[in-house]
């Protein structure tokens, strides 16, 4: 299989949220995801990019192809150098919000995707990696 280049979308303001999710959807469709799964992926990207704008002001959404032993998928990485999340367990509970703009963000994103990883250091930034495997 030919290595696919990663796609990077800088997130600096709210119109970038739409750009990132549209690129994510297009990439998912290219990779053979169903239209329904592409919508789930686009929705997850929208929420992750929204968190960047709301909490860190700017950051990056990176889309990569991932290959498992007998399957292929897409990985979405949302990274920022923002304030970080002091209590990740709390942030993963439904209904939690500190910006007033969401509260379902991270647990919801986790439900939309197959795999979810988060690392965050207060004062250093947050990185969320989510993956979805093609059915």
């Amino acid at each position: 299989m030919v290595a696919s280049p990663e796609i990077r979308v800088a997130i600096n303001s709210d119109p970038d949220i739409v750009i990132a999710r549209q690129k994510g959807r297009a990439r998912a469709v290219e990779l053979g995801f169903s239209s329904g799964d592409a919508t789930l992926i686009a929705t997850a990207i929208s929420e992750l990019a929204r968190n960047i704008v709301a909490y860190a002001k700017k950051g990056m959404i990176t889309l990569q192809v991932v290959n498992g032993s007998n399957r292929q998928g897409i990985a979405v990485t949302a990274s920022d150098d923002g304030p970080g999340i002091p209590d990740i367990r709390q942030a993963l509970r439904d209904g939690f919000s500190t910006s007033g703009s969401l509260g379902l963000g991270l647990p919801g994103v986790r439900r939309l995707m197959d795999e979810f990883e988060i690392t965050s250091q207060p004062g250093r930034g947050t990185t969320v990696v989510v993956k979805k495997w093609r059915q």
Partner: protein
């Protein structure tokens, strides 16, 4: 991208032409509420058929639009939520709470006509 607002009798129809940014959604909220006041509209239909993704912000803004318009004594109907978008909304844990929804523009208009048939 601005959302055109059309007047159809006592009702207003706002049709999304493409995916909307947060700023577009905020502008729609302001524009619709102003038009409802100015034109003394009884009902509003927001057609979101062209919306690619309904995330937390879009859902919250639509709820706010409907609640503001209800305070004016008018009714809002959201129409055209695509099945895949609805599926993603449920997975994400989003609801439109008590906001009325209908399959498409035709059913939305039928609902408003029935609701206001004796008042205009």
């Amino acid at each position: 991208m601005e959302v055109p607002i059309l007047k159809q009798g006592a009702f207003l129809i706002a049709t999304f032409q493409a995916a909307l940014s947060d700023a577009d959604l905020n502008q729609l909220r302001m524009g619709l509420v102003q038009q409802v006041v100015k034109l003394r509209s009884r009902g509003v239909i927001v057609d979101v058929t062209a919306m690619d993704v309904m995330d937390s912000f879009a859902s919250r803004t639509l709820r706010e639009i409907a609640h503001m318009i209800r305070l004016r004594g008018a009714e809002t109907v959201i129409v055209g939520i695509q099945p895949e978008v609805a599926f993603a909304m449920v997975q994400l844990g989003l609801t439109l709470e008590d906001v009325t929804t209908a399959l498409d523009l035709e059913e939305g208009l039928a609902y408003l006509n029935e609701k206001f048939k004796n008042t205009h």
